[in-house]
């Protein structure tokens, strides 16, 4: 089946909407210093100020500008999201492909390891580990990636195994192609749509878990994150600050996750004929 993924994504409403949201978030993250004049960590006014022209969303309990915290929070969210997405995808590709292509004992061992790791409930494991080591962003990315590549590896392995048996891969082998060449020139490019879906999954999960951990307070307390904003805001629900403190952070997080969901759903429906039509409509 020949699929032009880019074209199909552009044609799907969900795909377009998702891409727009994601691009908007990325733009916000990059342009944060331009869109806000305040440093999010600096105390710039009295605490718990209501929204005004100088502080669009007011200030929090220590007098930091909430609008700029919201903007900079996108950075952390997306950094962790894309970082984990990329790293866990690399791990998935490496173990998934190698176990499929090399096969044999190695392949079986890798897959049993995957089975073992998949049993570990990720969120609980992360909370336990993070509670001990209080990770900064980089460690968090590593941690989430290490715990999040297994299912991707499984999917990639399954697809690679079926591709390995396909006609043109066999044909390539009969021209004398090495396994490396076949993997690079045939299997990997064929997998692109699946890799994209896996990548987006990874990003979405990481964004969500990062926010969750921050909400629970199990991370570097100096980090400005939507999760930690919500946690702080929750302490002041008896005041009406939640309207410009809790809600905007919640909306930003939801929007990001919705955008990613839309993209992955659109990509999936392109790949899976059974989802076609239904989702694109």
């Amino acid at each position: 089946m020949h699929i032009d993924l880019k074209k199909e994504l552009k044609q799907s409403n969900l795909g377009r909407t998702g891409m727009t949201i994601l691009l908007l978030m990325i733009a916000v993250a990059i342009l944060a210093p331009v869109l806000s004049q305040y440093d999010p960590t600096e105390q710039t006014a009295a605490s718990l100020v209501s929204p005004s022209l100088s502080h669009w969303l007011g200030t929090n309990h220590v007098g930091q500008d909430i609008w700029s915290q919201l903007l900079y929070g996108a950075r952390i969210s997306l950094l962790v999201g894309f970082g984990v997405g990329t790293l866990s995808l690399i791990l998935s590709i490496f173990f998934g492909l190698s176990s499929a292509i090399i096969g044999g004992l190695y392949g079986r061992v890798v897959m049993r390891v995957v089975d073992a790791l998949i049993v570990i409930p990720m969120v609980i494991a992360v909370i336990l580990v993070a509670a001990y080591i209080r990770p900064d962003v980089l460690v968090l990315i590593f941690l989430l990636s290490l715990l999040g590549w297994q299912s991707g590896a499984r999917v990639i392995r399954a697809q690679a195994l079926s591709l390995k048996e396909s006609g043109h891969v066999k044909a390539s082998a009969t021209f004398g192609a090495s396994r490396f060449y076949i993997t690079r020139r045939h299997i990997l490019p064929e997998l692109t749509p699946i890799l994209l879906v896996e990548f987006i999954y990874g990003v979405r999960r990481a964004v969500f878990i990062e926010a969750g951990l921050a909400f629970l307070g199990i991370c570097d307390p100096m980090l400005i994150s939507w999760g930690s904003m919500m946690r702080d805001a929750m302490r002041f629900t008896y005041l009406n600050v939640w309207q410009w403190w809790l809600v905007p952070a919640g909306i930003a997080l939801s929007l990001t996750i919705i955008g990613l969901t839309f993209i992955s759903h659109a990509a999936e429906s392109v790949l899976d004929p059974r989802l076609r039509g239904e989702a694109v409509a």
Binding site: H2, G167, K170, A171, F175, A177
Partner: protein
């Protein structure tokens, strides 16, 4: 009786015969065959000493070297000891004399008989060759070609020569006259030797016991006629058999690539040969005779390209391929015929190294193949059953065809491109940019299979394994693909292992057929033998259930 030793004949600078050695005993019938221009007639004329060319070497007739005789001595021998039936009948008979007079003429001239005896003898001979009595006094132009040929034969035998040279004796006759005259010639008493010169394999098989194949003024193969025809050892002889329409072989006719050129250094056939190596262009191979068969070839005749020895493959309890031993010769088509599930494709995949064999070994070009490397894949290629699957949907036509070159790191990008385009043209696809940039899903099934064939050919393999190449195509497209494969075989000398369930198609394209059942080869032999007299019940069943257009004969 006749011994020709290292004879060279040249007209000016043009050497026509180049070291011919032949011997012929009384009672023997030898045919010299070859296509026109190989020097057959010159050989006959040299024995008669009628050639205008310069003759070197010795032609011993009854122990006397006739090249050294004076013209007068030669006249004694000509017609008495050796007579020749010339090829071009219309110019040979004298238009102003009756035919019986012309048959008498040599008898009287050599003063052997009185006129009356001579006339009687001439009449007997003419009757023997089936000329009606009332035609004896006709003039040549009043006779048909066949009748003139009979007169010529009678003339040649008029003085009872010990050696009869027949130059294309049957070629001007229709098939039934051939049959008659062929029988008569065969019945001529065994006291004389006959040398039949012909380009016609049918004539040779009718009139000779032994055959010598002449090419470019050299003898390339000798042996008993039937054996040589059934299983030729020299590539030229095989090509000749393939080019000859007959009732024995069932494969489609094939020509011989190129045309005869002279002079050629080394083996005269090497520019047209499909298995030529370096030395062929430098040295003429000697005629090596073994057990009555001689072949002049540096490679010992047609080589065995690929052979399997007890190759087996088991999948758990199932023995998919069970001790298969097969040979594929250079330039031949071997059809592997059997029902689905008989292990044909498994065998092909084992040969290609896609499955490791459970047992047995594989030899290519005389060497055992332990691991399939790039060298092997450069020489053996496969086309798969379903072209839609075997071509990657992500690669354009051009890139698909270039892929093997890229994998084998042959040439730079530009050379690969031009080689790919050349091959695409060879499989009769348009080499336009528009076409080259198409993707498989833009192509028809036939076009896809052609692209797959081009991709397999781009490495210039010696052996092509075609696994049901036409099963996904409709009949007219499939026929074109098979034709294409045969043409490629003719031009490149490609060996084909043609895998099919369809014995009707197999007999059209294959030299030999191997029938496979439950993983075993149950029968293998020349296609015509398998088709006409199968030895196994299963083969008969295959044949009787094969495609046919008329069902009446089955009832």
């Amino acid at each position: 009786m006749l011994e020709i030793i290292d004879v060279h004949v040249s007209y000016g600078n043009d050497t026509v015969l180049n070291g011919v050695n032949l011997s012929l005993d009384t009672g023997e019938r030898l045919a010299v065959v070859g296509e026109s221009g190989t020097g057959k007639t010159t050989l006959g004329l040299s024995i008669m000493r009628l050639t205008e060319g310069k003759v070197e070497g010795a032609i011993n007739l009854d122990g006397k070297d006739i090249t050294r005789l004076s013209e007068k001595q030669m006249q004694q021998i000509r017609w008495n000891r050796v007579a020749m039936v010339f090829q071009n009948v219309n110019n040979v008979l004298n238009p102003v004399h009756t035919v019986i007079d012309q048959v008498c003429e040599p008898i009287v001239e050599h003063k052997l008989k009185r006129k009356g005896d001579a006339l009687r003898k001439a009449g007997e001979l003419l009757s023997y060759f089936g000329l009606a009595q009332n035609r004896f006094s006709s003039f040549p132009h009043q006779l048909s070609g066949g009748e003139q040929q009979r007169v010529l034969l009678a003339m040649a035998l008029s003085n009872d020569p010990g050696l009869l040279i027949l130059d294309e004796p049957l070629s001007s006759l229709d098939v039934t006259a051939r049959e008659d005259l062929g029988l008569l010639l065969r019945q001529i008493d065994r006291k004389r030797a006959q040398l039949v010169i012909t380009h016609d394999l049918d004539t040779a098989s009718r009139l000779s016991d032994r055959i010598a194949v002449l090419y470019g003024g050299k003898i390339v193969e000798t042996g008993p006629t039937q054996e040589v025809m059934q299983c030729p050892r020299h590539p030229y002889t095989r090509a000749l058999v393939r080019a000859y329409p007959n009732m024995t072989t069932v494969k489609d006719l094939q020509g011989i690539k190129g045309r005869m050129t002279r002079p050629v250094s080394g083996c005269p056939f090497h520019p047209r040969c499909t298995q030529a190596i370096d030395i062929c262009s430098r040295k003429m191979p000697p005629l090596a005779v073994e057990e009555g068969r001689g072949v002049a070839c540096h490679r010992g005749g047609i080589i065995t390209l690929l052979s399997t020895a007890n190759l087996s493959k088991s999948f758990d309890l199932l023995k998919a391929v069970d001790a298969v031993s097969l040979n594929i010769q250079a330039g031949e088509t071997l059809a592997l015929v059997g029902q689905s599930g008989s292990g044909k494709t498994t065998l092909a995949k084992m040969i290609m190294g896609l499955y490791p064999p459970s047992e047995g070994s594989l030899f290519f070009d005389g060497k055992q193949i332990v691991s399939h490397g790039k060298d092997f894949y450069g020489r053996v290629q496969m086309i798969f059953q379903n072209p839609g699957e075997s071509l990657s949907h992500r690669l354009s036509v051009l890139h698909s065809v270039m892929e093997p070159l890229e994998i084998q790191s042959k040439g730079d990008q530009k050379q690969r491109r031009s080689k790919a385009i050349q091959t695409i043209e060879e499989v009769e696809l348009p080499p336009t940019d528009n076409f080259l940039n198409k993707y498989p899903h833009h192509l028809s099934g036939g076009e896809m299979q052609r692209v797959a064939i081009a991709r397999a050919l781009v490495l210039d393999p010696d052996l092509l394994i075609a696994d049901e190449p036409t099963s996904f195509l409709d009949a007219s497209v499939g026929a074109k693909i098979l034709k294409l494969l045969l043409n490629l075989q003719e031009h490149r000398g490609l060996s084909l292992l043609y895998i099919t369930h369809d014995i009707a198609a197999a007999r059209k394209v294959s030299d030999r057929i191997a029938v496979m059942l439950d993983g075993r080869i149950i029968e293998v032999g020349p296609s015509n033998e398998i088709v006409s007299s199968p030895k196994q019940d299963y083969t008969s069943r295959l044949l009787s259930s094969a495609s046919a257009l008329s069902r009446t004969e089955r009832l």
